[in-house]
Structures are given as structure tokens and as C-alpha cells.
Symmetry: none
Subunit: 235 residues, 4 copies
DNA sequence: CATGAATGAGAATTCATTCAT
DNA sequence: CATGAATGAATTCTCATTCAT
């Protein structure tokens, strides 16, 4: 609950109890057509989040200055506090807003999809929707700041990891039942499916400038190897 | 332009030129038996590095306070500065001192080792020497702080990644030549060999408390799948 | 080489280039009547400068703590940094803001003023506008800190000393041409005109409590002696 | 007594009562020929003082680091404390050891020396023994640090200024009595005699690199003007 | 005597957060 | 709502002084 990292936070008085990482109250907008006021407000909120992603992923949580976020969002420093309780809340919201839509795609996969097709969809989703977008940075932020914000890791586990692994396991189970594959490797370790994707994300951030990586090719190779093994063919 | 008086600045400037990430001058100790002085000095240096690893990996570079490192090492704040120029140098030394011995094992593998055996050695090395030790935290630190310390990533790439991938590629090449395997997948993407290891490291730090991971089993499964594919057998 | 993360360093570096001692950009206030905001800002700036003069001249540059300056100015420590980049800049601005108006008076003297009248004006200016004001402390600060801040001495030489000596020399030259005096002593060593003034400033700071000095009388005596010599009369 | 400047001194515990600026107990060496031990000790003491003069006059009291003094003297940091109680005592001794011999020459002047000759001797003494030696730096140090070390100014006033002005006044009085001069200007303001010398010292430190100053010529001009006035001749 | 490693009080500077305008 | 000036806690790094060797 209390973040491990944020040194300066001791000062923070009022917020102590509130769980920053809990889902926010989703200010319902109601009215069919949004009023201009609400629209502007939403736009501003989005601008702040976008700026925050830039800054947080470039510098990490502690080293990011809200003044830079504000400048990048084209607003004043104090304005951030009209939209987010504090720095940590802003960070939490940023992560959350990228998380939610993530798993939907995976879970939406029809249960009887052939495993190979599912895996290819899965990988494609990863490459297109994560590796190919700013979400790549969100993933890195989770890796980077996770250990210091236990809540962050927990939310991410609950909302993404658990659901995604469950989905994968279910699909694999069906594939086994249908006789598509015999190995239960992926059911026991669904992590093996994404591992190369993770490596790609990190490689990009750390080593791409020394040695570029053809991610698409690597992922294809990965899938090919995986299914050659699972199905017992020669690749 | 630069004032003569401002001590602090003169120093800062002087340091700016030094490359903190370059290999240090390795104070040779000389005499067969270490004097007590030198011994204590070395012990203290080690204590500081150990404490620094604890703190840096718990909080990251920016959020770590040298005062905490000192307290954990059982020394005074100022003492750190007798051993390391500044916070960044301490960090650099910490990373470096864990890096150097890493690759030796991999490169030492006989060129004609059957690939499967090499891979198993490799994985074992990873699990025992990295995953099973504090080096796991060093890996995480590199991932975490790398993007903010270009030198860190560069040194790590040069000293570890490049050499390790080269070694893997060489071994794979020999295996292909000997007809052990036909696929050049691992030669093109040696990353696929370690990917699950990386996932393990991160999983441990982020999600183990929600869902433990049997790393040894996962790595075994990974190797089995991989070679089933490479060799064209059914796993 | 320079780490990307370390904010502090990036800034320091950035500042290194800026010449603290160069004339500042003089934020133009614009609108005929100052807004309350701007007024308060200017007042605060002035308060900081006043407090800084007190502290710097009591303790010198290095020994002065910005916290004391802040307290004396009735503001918080951090506020100083809203008005001045750092301690050195504050010091530079302090000196400069006292310097600029100084020479104007001397240079404004009509070229054909009889030398004696000019000298008396000059001395009066010195006694009233320097010795009799806080500028006395500024002079002392220049003497005290000058050798350690080459820029300080340079700016002071360029903006004050050079212009003042040039003015004196010009006037002396005219006086010689007009036959008022024959000696070119003052033209060669204009320093002789102010020397006693300097002594007065230093005496005041160091020995006045042991033996007071009637500065006005001394300066009058000085002028009388000088002109008795230059004009060849008996004093 | 308590120095104004030395911030860190609050820590100093034991010394509180001792008057650092009082004359030291002059360890009498006794024995006709100094023992080697005592000789080495004296040499070391002198080396420290010499190094201290370099450092103090280059950086001022507060900014000078004893470690630099030690390095320059070719000894270890701790050794300084075997010869001087603390930083302030070292500073006091440094000033004192340069002061004592200073006035002797002036006071030794025969009472009936013609004033003009005395003045020329005086000036010569100043130029040769102060301006031309490291004592110039001591003078600057007194000016610089005097206001922060009330004791320093007091000792200097008592040991030098008072005695020197008294000597000058006595000589001038005799000159008047003998009818050499009629003006009592120098008796009232003996400062006028040295004023240009002081300017020379400061000019050298601050502006010489922009505009060199022929000190000898200036002092000669000064004396010529002065006596032309005092004696009522045309220069 | 001499050394230099160790200590820890400080001081400059930064930045999250507040709040008057 | 929005602003940005003001605050002051927190953190890095320095250096006088001590003391075991």
C-alpha cells in the first residue's frame, strides 16, 4: 500500500489512507452529448497522461518532475493537481489507463480457435498493440517501477497477467482435448509464449542502437519453433 | 567564466571528463600477503558495494539515498566518498563488478560441445549464477536504469551481451556443421535461448508473491521444447 | 558519458556555459503601470539583493549561507532560486546592480570643468555615493572576492575602472591644455585621486572601532594637498 | 574573540576560551646549537606556513582546505594539527609571523631624519618589503578576512597600524618643529602617505592583467606631489 | 611524531505540493 | 478552473577534526 520508493512522500499528509491504485470512480459523464466543458476536461486529462508517459518512461518515476510533465502538456504545474491527487496517482492512472484494454483482445478469442492461430493472433497483438505503441513504454515502466510500487505489480498481475495466462491456459487445454497438441508445456508455463516479446521490448530500449533486432522475424521464428516442438514436426 | 573560487564547481568539472563507466585502475595490492590496512579497505569496499546492491535494487538509482547505503554498510556517510567518487561511480562499479565474471563461463565452453549440452550448461549457469544470486538484482538494475545511463547499457552490451551472443552463435554454427541440428533459428536469434530466463527474473521480482514460479522446471521445459523443435522430435 | 538520468548534472552542465557575469536580460516590464504581481516580484528581488549584500559583506562569498540570506529577506530558502539561478549568480547580480550607475556621474562631468571643481565633485561623489552608502560594502566585496572570481574583476574593470580612469585622464588633459596645471601626474596615475578614498573604505571596515577617521576632512586635505602640488601653491 | 566567519567552528569544543590571536608562547629553543629534532620541527612549521600563505591568499580563509595546505607542504593532513591547534590558529599564526618584523624598520628611523628622506625610505620599504614580497598577499588577507576576524584586525591595528602611524606622526612633528614643512596634513592623516601603496597592492591583485601598473613610478610621483605640496614648490 | 581513514555537521540545490490571485 | 510563486523537506557532496596504527 505504502509505496516503497517515493521518499518524499512521507510529507504527504491527507492521502495516506486512500488507495491510489484502486480503480478510480470513473466520473460518469452521463448526458448523451458531452458538454464542451467536459470535453475540454477530458482532453486535458489525456494530454497530461500523454505527457506523463513521455516523461515517466524517459526518466522513471522518481526522476520525473511534474513541472516537465506540465510543460509538455502545455499547462501549468498546479493544473495537474486539478486532475490527479498527486504524482503517484498520476502514475497509477497512467499505468491503469493503458492496462485495461490490453487483455480484452486475448480473452475475446473464441475458445475453439486452433492453438496455432491463437498463438499467432496473440503474438500479432503483442507486436502491434504493445511493441509497436507507447504501451511498450508502459510495460517497461511496470518492470522498472513495479518492485517499488507493490500495488502497481498487484493490479497489473490481477488485471493483466492472471487473466491473460488464464486465457492462454484455457485455449491450450482445449487444443490438447481436441488432440491438436499433446504437450502441456504451454499450459504449465504460458510465460514461454510471451518471453521473446518481453526480450524484444527490453532489447529495443537497451541495445537496439548497437544491434537492431528484427522483432517480427524473431517472433515468427519463435512461433515456428514452438509449434514444431508442440506438434512434433521438423521446423 | 568558471569562477576560481567555487571549489565545488571546479571538482564537478574535473569529474565530468572522467568516464565513470570505464574500467577502474584496479589498485594492485602487490605484496604476497595483504597488509591489514589493505584488507580492511577491501572489506569495506565490498561492504559498501553489498549495501549499495541492496539499496539500489530495492529503490532504483535515483531514489536510493547514500545515507541508507552507509547505514547498511555500517559506516558513515562520508566514508563512501573515500571509496567511490560519487553516487554514479558507486553504481557503475557495482554493475561492473558483477558483470565481468559473467561471460567467462559461457565463452569457456569447448567449441565442440554438443549444442544440447551447451544449452543445458548455459541454462544451468543462468539459473545458478544469476537467478540464484544477487546478480539477479543486477540484471534487474540494468534493465531498470539502462535507458537512463547510456554508458551502462553500452558497457553491458559490449562486455556481456555481445560476447555471449557471439559464443552462442559460434556453438550453434558448429552444431549445424556437425549435423546436430538443421535450423539456424538460434543462430539468428540467440535471444530465444535466454528469453525465459529473463522472464523468470522479472516474474520473481514482480509476481512471485501472487503466483510462485518453478523456474528450474520452466527452464527445463523450455530446453526440451527448443530441442524437440531444433532436432525435429516429439517432445 | 554524461548520464541521461542525473538531472542535477544536466543542469549544472547547462549553466556552465552561461556567463553568470554577463549583463542579464533585463526583463522588460512593459505596461505603463506595473501590475501588482510584477511589483511584488521586483520588491522581492530587491529584498533578496539587500539581504545578500548584508550577508555577503559580513561573511564573504563562501561563508555566506543562502539560508541566512533567505531568513534576512523574510522568505524561504527555495524562493531565492526563483529569482537567481544560484549563489554565484546572486552574487554577480548584486555586484552588477551596484556598479552600473556608478560611473555615469563621473562621465557626465562637462569636459571643460576646471580640474579642481571636477576633483571636488569626484571626491564628493565618492564620499556621498560610495563611502556613505552600502556601496562601500560592494567595493569591499570586489576587493575581497575579486581575485577568486576573475569575471567579477574583469566586469568591474571594464565597466567602472576603465571608464572612470579614462574620464579622469580626459579632464586632466583638458586642464593641462588650458594651462590650469602643468603636471601630468594625475594623467599618468589617476589612481592617486581615489587612493585615499579606498583607504577610507577599508579603514572604516577594519579599524574605525579603534580609531575613528574623519573621512570628509581627510578627503579635503587630500584634495588641498594635491592641488597645492599641481598648481604649485603653498597649502 | 569568536570569529564571525568560521561557520563550522561551532563544533570546535575545547578551544573556545583560548585566544588564538594572542601572541604564542614562543617555544624557546635554548641550547646554543639547535638539535636536529628542533630544526626539522621548525622547518616543517615554516613549510606549513608557506603552504598556508599560498592557499589562503589564493582562496581566502573559508575556501581553503587544509588538505591542500598539507599536500603543498608535502605532509599529511593530520600533521598540521601537531603544529597548529586548528585552521583558525594556523591562519592567525600566518598573519602574525608576517606582521612582527614589519614595523621595526619604520620605528627604527632616526627621529631627526629629514621628512622627505623618511618618506622615501618608508615608501621604499613598502615597495621592497611588502609589495615586492608575499607580504603583499598577507596585506590582502588582512583586508579580506579582517572584518570576519575581529581579533585579526585588532592585533594588526595594535601591532602595525598604531605603531606605524605613531612613528609617522612623530617624524612629521619633528619636521614641522624644524621648519621643514608647515602643513600638518600628514600628521592628521598619515594614511595619505601609504594610500597609493595600498591601491598598488589591490590593483596588482585585481586589474594588473588588464592594465599593468608601474608601481615604483607611481610611488615616486606620489612622493613628489606630496612634498611639492608640503613644501610649497612647483612639482 | 606522522599518517590518512573515518566521521558527521553542514550547505547548495531540487521539486512535490499548496494557495492566493 | 487555471496559474505559477512560494514553501521547506530531502538529498548529495565537502571538509575540519579526530584517532588508531
Amino acid at each position: 500500500m505504502a509505496p516503497v520508493a517515493s521518499r518524499k512522500k512521507a510529507r504527504t499528509t491527507a492521502r495516506a489512507d486512500a488507495d491510489v491504485w484502486a480503480a478510480p470512480a470513473e466520473k460518469s459523464v452521463g448526458k448523451g452529448a458531452r458538454s464542451t466543458r467536459a470535453e475540454r476536461s477530458a482532453a486535458r486529462r489525456a494530454a497530461i497522461l500523454a505527457a506523463a508517459l513521455d516523461e515517466f518512461s524517459a526518466r522513471g518515476f522518481v526522476a520525473t518532475r511534474l513541472e516537465d510533465v506540465a510543460r509538455r502538456a502545455g499547462i501549468a504545474k498546479g493544473t495537474i493537481y486539478l486532475y490527479f491527487r498527486d504524482k503517484e496517482t498520476l502514475f497509477a492512472e497512467l499505468i491503469r489507463s493503458s492496462l485495461v484494454p490490453l487483455v480484452a483482445g486475448v480473452e475475446a478469442a473464441p475458445r475453439d480457435l486452433p492453438l496455432r492461430m491463437f498463438a499467432e493472433l496473440f503474438i500479432e497483438l503483442f507486436v502491434k498493440e504493445i511493441y509497436g505503441t507507447r504501451r511498450r513504454d508502459v510495460i517497461r515502466l511496470i518492470i522498472t517501477e513495479g518492485p517499488r510500487f507493490p500495488q502497481l505489480a498487484e493490479v497489473y498481475y490481477r488485471e493483466v497477467i492472471k487473466r491473460a495466462t488464464a486465457a492462454v491456459r484455457a485455449i491450450v487445454q482445449r487444443a490438447i482435448e481436441r488432440g491438436e497438441i499433446r504437450s502441456d508445456a504451454l499450459k504449465r508455463f504460458p510465460q514461454l509464449l510471451v518471453a521473446p516479446g518481453l526480450v524484444a521490448v527490453l532489447w529495443e530500449a537497451l541495445f537496439a542502437r548497437f544491434e537492431p533486432l528484427d522483432v517480427a522475424a524473431m517472433m515468427r521464428t519463435h512461433i515456428d519453433l514452438l509449434f514444431a516442438a508442440l506438434e512434433g514436426r521438423k521446423p
